[in-house]
Amino acid sequence: MSDIFNFNVLAGVLRTMITMSTPFLFAALGETFSQLSGVINLGVDGIMLLSGFLAFYAVYLTGSIWLGLLVAMGTGLFMGLMMSFVSVTLKAQQGISGIGLQMFGLGMSSLLFKVLVGTVKTVSGFTAVKIPLLGDIPFFGRILFQHNVLVYAAFLLVPVCWWILEKTNLGLKIKAVGQNPAAADSVGINVNKIRYLSVCFGSMLAGVAGASLSISIANLFQDNLTAGQGFIAVALVYFGGWTPIGVLGGSLLFSLANSAQLWLQVLGVDVPASLAVMLPYILTIVVLTVAVNRGKQPAALNKQFFRGEN
């Protein structure tokens, strides 16, 4: 048991934590925009799956990781348009339309994977870039500064999202639309346009999250690659109290749970694997139950907006 607690293992766990928080960060930051504008997008997992597969397939065919990333963003954007058309224009009940999008993404990614690729194959995805000087710091350098571009981008996105939401006119509009769409409408804000924008931006980030799994972390695709991480990302937004900083904390907590569980298995600690895998899901329920920030929930979340009727 003693070797679990040595520095190398600790560094390994923490490094894996940083890597594994990437998909959570991208997806949950995107979902923050969506939810702040009043639309709960439960299709994130489906978007991650289809974008993840198409990104993988693009890299598999051409070898270009940047093309893969672009494909993922495009797929996310397209599925975001689907979601916003059904939920904002047609005013569907958001919970249902999100589940529909999830089923579509799950089925389509699996179908395409089986027809176009067949068996599990690996690609060479994003490779780690060591940041000069910082990457050489003992212990911390390995944990924080020897990652690939997507990981750095995910963490840089946190202040960027904070800045957009807190310091720009657009951020104010997004939050206004999510708090009180009727009031926002009465001062001339186009509610539907803002919601389309937020959902599509969020879905595009969900696409990147999918790519971060298939061409940066796993470097392969298989059926249901996400294993519900998209849904956990939606829960993280609640946990984070609809702020990018909170989402960052939540993402790190969850990826820590994930990486600790992986390391326990690698080190052969005697815990049944299936019980260890349960951990993040149980944690999600606990987190949703005790989430202290519920007062900050956008008042119009999960509510359709009918212009001139309320």
Binding site: I40, L42, G46, M82, F85, V86, L90, K91, A92, Q93, G95, I96, S97, G98, I99, G100, L101, Q102, M103, F104, G105, L106, G107, M108, S110, L111, L112, K114, V115, L116, D223, A227, G228, F231, I232, V234, A235, Y238, P272, S274, L275, V277, M278, Y281, I282, T284, I285, L288, T289, V290, R294, Q304
Partner: protein, 380 residues
């Protein structure tokens, strides 16, 4: 005179004609959604160089092309119907139960445990006993998200999804150890499946050489029971009232969180019952992949059945058929069965997207009918 209008509306033929029109809209439009989903999927099949005509032909042949195909479709329709009925009850209280998969697992595990623990019981006690235990286990798995929603306002979609994953891992754990078939252990195969159920607990198969078992009648009976529950009992009325207008229900003294919790618990119970019936009728043991996506397909069946217990019967036969047909298609023309999930997802998007639109048309027609009736009234 204006006050007389609603009464007149109830008594004249305008009302029943509107009823038929409403029924038509609520049935035909979702069905058009299925057709559109099939067309879009056909285009995608073309893009990946598969032949949609032969694929769909194989699918429908496998679903409804022979007596054998029909029996298989009905076998799949049985758990779908039970899950769909539960989702219908939850939906009526504005709760979305996405936890069917987990509830099926819990129900099948508990029912199997009961049958294996009391193999000596006579048939007429063991079978209802298994069903009750399965129902209770599923109900417990539905109660958790129901309680969390009622007490802590936890989003039930997220919690039920998480509970699905937890139940799946729990099943893997049990089948890989405590519940693993002793025969498999002895033979060294270590298959992840439970021991075979005692013959006493098997549901009778009605047609030789097919799987069609008597569980179908249990499911049909529950469809009628759920109809009576929702439309002929006080609790059912309260559940529907909560779904139609939570605020008005609250002010008229209905306990909204309690009714939502109750509806999720019953929904879980019905899914659990579906799970144990699947075990007793088809597999006769718990094994991996038992749920077969029924938890999600049940949502689609409930939506397509217009959230009406009797409407869900044909809807679950249709989707049961599509699930069977998808496997036939995979074998016959090598188009992966996963296609069906994509189709189901599109159906959900279309049905949810058209719901408001249908309601608006019906509302407009009703308003027009009231105006018309009161006009006639004032003229005479």
């Amino acid at each position: 005179m204006a006050l007389a209008a609603p009464k007149k509306l109830l008594s004249t033929s305008t009302h029943s004609r509107n009823d038929w029109f409403e029924f038509f809209l609520r049935t035909i439009i979702p069905f058009l959604g299925v057709i559109t989903a099939l067309i879009i999927s056909a285009v995608i099949l073309l893009l990946i160089k598969a032949n949609p005509v032969t694929a769909y032909a194989a699918m429908f042949r496998g679903a409804f092309g022979s007596v054998n195909a029909w029996t298989q479709s009905l076998v799949k329709a049985t758990p779908l119907l039970l899950v769909g009925l539960g989702i219908c009850i939850a939906f009526r209280a504005s709760v979305i139960n996405v936890g069917g998969e987990g509830q099926i697992i819990l129900g099948s595990l508990a029912g199997t445990w009961f049958a294996l623990s009391f193999p000596g019981l006579p048939r007429f006690i063991l079978i209802p006993g298994c069903m009750t235990v399965g129902f209770l286990a599923g109900a417990f798995w539905g109660f958790i998200p129901g309680f969390l929603k009622a007490r802590y306002k936890v989003n039930e979609i997220l919690s039920t999804i998480m509970l699905n994953s937890i139940a799946l891992q729990f099943m893997n754990y049990l089948l890989g150890g405590p519940m693993m078939d002793p025969e498999g252990v002895a033979a060294g195969t270590f298959l992840a499946q439970s021991a075979r159920l005692p013959q006493n607990s098997w549901l009778t198969r009605m047609i030789p050489q097919t799987m069609l078992h008597t569980g179908l009648f249990v499911a049909l009976a529950f469809a009628i029971l759920v109809y009576i529950f929702l439309w002929r009992t006080t609790i059912g009325y309260q559940i529907r009232a909560v779904g139609l207008n939570p605020r008005a229900s609250h002010y008229s003294g209905i306990n909204v969180p309690f009714n939502q919790m109750l509806s999720l618990t019953i929904a879980g119970g019905l899914a659990g019952l579906g799970g144990v019936i699947e075990v007793m009728g088809v597999h006769r043991r718990v094994l991996e992949g038992l749920t077969g996506g029924y938890g999600f397909t049940g949502i689609v069946a409930a939506l397509l059945g217009s959230l009406h217990p009797l409407g869900i019967i044909p809807a679950s036969v249709l989707f049961g058929g599509l699930l069977v047909g998808a496997n036939t298609m995979q074998r016959a023309v090598q188009v992966p069965a996963a296609l069906i999930n994509a189709i189901l997802g599109l159906v959900v998007l279309f049905v949810s997207g058209s719901a408001l639109w249908i309601n608006q048309i019906i509302k407009k027609r009703k308003t027009a009918a009231i105006i018309l009736a009161s006009d006639k009234d004032s003229q005479s």
